[in-house]
């Protein structure tokens, strides 16, 4: 008889021990997590998976969208007529301003040329339809139907009819992901219209924004409108961002707590306008370098400066 083989028969083979497998997968997950959040260098892997997942996701959402469409089709005539009348009135309201806009722009350009100033940057871009809000409860993001194929790039600002909505942070072949200005620590450089004071609005993650690092006696009032200051080289200046809703002045802290509500319908569905990226300004070398660095990173998050400012 042949010598007894001491290797276990194949039906006892179960692969590596569970604990070893667990260690392997947990390490892999945490490594991916850190690399994704810290270095953002696995976006290619993400894009690859998204090519498969994205169509499935749209397929899963087809029934809901179809029901919505059918509902929209049967909207009553009266509602439509009323809406039509309202739109016509709104158009008439803005007509005087719009009619003179072309004239004003040409005049502005001529005056700027006379004063030897840089020409104003024009707002260009493309309309995108919002597909859905992402399911991730830890962040505020939406997905729109314009992606790499439409020439959308990370870092482009996104607006709707009333103001800034957010910034493109990830681009997939057929869709792109927009981080809303209300996302936690999403930053928009702003200017208070009434006083001209510049500041930075931070998202709070719950549908509100906060103006940080303004002294307790700063000249800010409830109802103040904040517009983009354009200092960052990302957002064009002059777009409405938020309205100051509540101010807490506590002498125990050196800064006032100023809460704002976004002006744009940030958390509503509809259509948005993806602005073309601003051309880097030659006269601001430091800004230009940062803009290039941010293009890889995708978003503007000066976390270090925030931490440094919090210390005193």
């Amino acid at each position: 008889m042949a010598a007894i083989d001491h290797a276990p028969p194949p039906f006892f083979k179960q692969g590596p021990a569970p604990l070893a497998l667990l260690t392997f997968y947990v390490t892999l997950s945490i490594a991916l997590f850190v690399v994704d959040l810290k270095y953002k260098s696995v976006d290619l892997l993400r894009q690859g998976i998204a090519v498969v997942v994205d169509p499935l996701q749209r397929l899963a959402q087809t029934p809901g969208a179809a029901i919505e469409q059918v509902g929209g089709y049967f909207t009553s005539l009266a509602t439509l007529q009323q809406e039509n009348a309202e739109l016509r009135r709104a158009q008439l309201d803005t007509a005087p301003n719009l009619a003179r806009l072309a004239h004003l722009e040409s005049e502005n350009e001529r005056l700027r040329r006379l004063l030897d100033m840089k020409a104003r940057e024009k707002a260009e871009g493309k309309v995108a339809h919002i597909l859905y809000a992402t399911r991730d409860p830890f962040s505020r993001r939406i997905v729109v139907d314009q992606g790499l194929q439409a020439g959308v790039g990370a870092g482009q600002p996104v607006i709707d009819e009333s103001g800034i909505v957010g910034q493109v942070t990830r681009v997939f072949p057929l869709s792109s992901e927009i981080t809303l200005i209300t996302d936690k620590d999403q930053v928009v450089p702003v200017q208070i219209v009434r006083t001209g004071q510049r500041s930075v609005a931070f998202g709070l993650g719950e549908g509100h924004l906060e103006l940080r690092f303004l002294p307790a006696n700063a000249d800010v009032q409830e109802g103040d409108i904040l517009v983009t200051s354009g200092l960052d080289g990302v957002y064009l200046p002059g777009f409405p961002v938020a309205k100051v809703s509540r101010i807490e002045r506590d002498s125990a802290y050196s800064f006032a707590r100023i809460f704002c509500d976004p002006v744009a319908g940030v958390e509503n569905f509809g259509e948005v306008f993806v602005l073309a990226p601003r051309p880097p300004r030659a006269d601001l070398p430091a800004l230009k370098e940062r803009a290039v660095a941010d293009e890889g990173k995708g978003e503007l998050r000066p976390k270090k400066s925030r931490r440094a400012a919090k210390k005193p």
Binding site: Y25, L28, V35, P137, G205
Partner: protein, 173 residues
């Protein structure tokens, strides 16, 4: 195999394609635009936990990791977040599977609840540690609903394995 180890009813062997189909359908359920309701249960976690308990030789941590990565891309959360939660869930489910299957379904649900909560807590933990916003307490209601759905889910997922109660002894097979 039986529905529970204490049951005398013998089940048909599971068909692998049914496992994969149910996991796929759970994924599709998770792809639905339910971002406004954070209490909606994580269907993939529920079905994955179910198969990890019943068929731990077929569905284990490898599947958990893969599904986790897919969910991360679909939810556009940080890569590895769901993967970590699901891998831990699959590990606990696999290692407790021989114990859990002795209990009736209600008590099984009580075993499953902490697993699903762990899966959710781990994700919330690493995301908030990495600077994400707090998702609100309704995020932790999902596991409660999922655990309550354990009984219907078991009946549904075992449906293809049940044999007719009255069997014809004269039938050739």
């Amino acid at each position: 195999m039986q529905p529970t180890f204490s049951s005398s009813r013998i089940l048909l062997p599971v068909r692998p394609w049914f496992i994969y189909l149910s996991l796929f359908l759970a994924l599709m359920l998770n792809f639905l635009p339910t971002s406004q309701w954070s209490w909606v249960p994580d269907w993939v976690a529920l079905v994955l936990g179910f198969w990890a308990i019943r068929e731990f030789r077929r569905v284990g941590m490898g599947w958990a990791f893969l599904l986790g990565i897919v969910m991360d891309v679909a939810d556009s959360s940080a890569l590895g977040q769901h993967a970590l939660g699901y891998v831990l869930l699959a590990y606990v489910a696999t290692s407790l599977s021989r114990r859990i299957l002795w209990f009736p379904l209600l008590q099984q649900a009580l075993h499953v609840l902490p697993m699903l909560l762990l899966c959710q807590l781990v994700q919330a933990g690493i995301r908030t540690a990495a600077g994400g916003g707090f998702p609100g307490f309704s995020y932790f209601i999902g596991p409660l609903i999922a655990a309550a759905l354990w009984m219907p889910a078991t009946y549904l997922l075992l449906l293809p394995q049940y044999r007719p109660v009255e069997q014809d002894p004269h039938r050739p097979i």
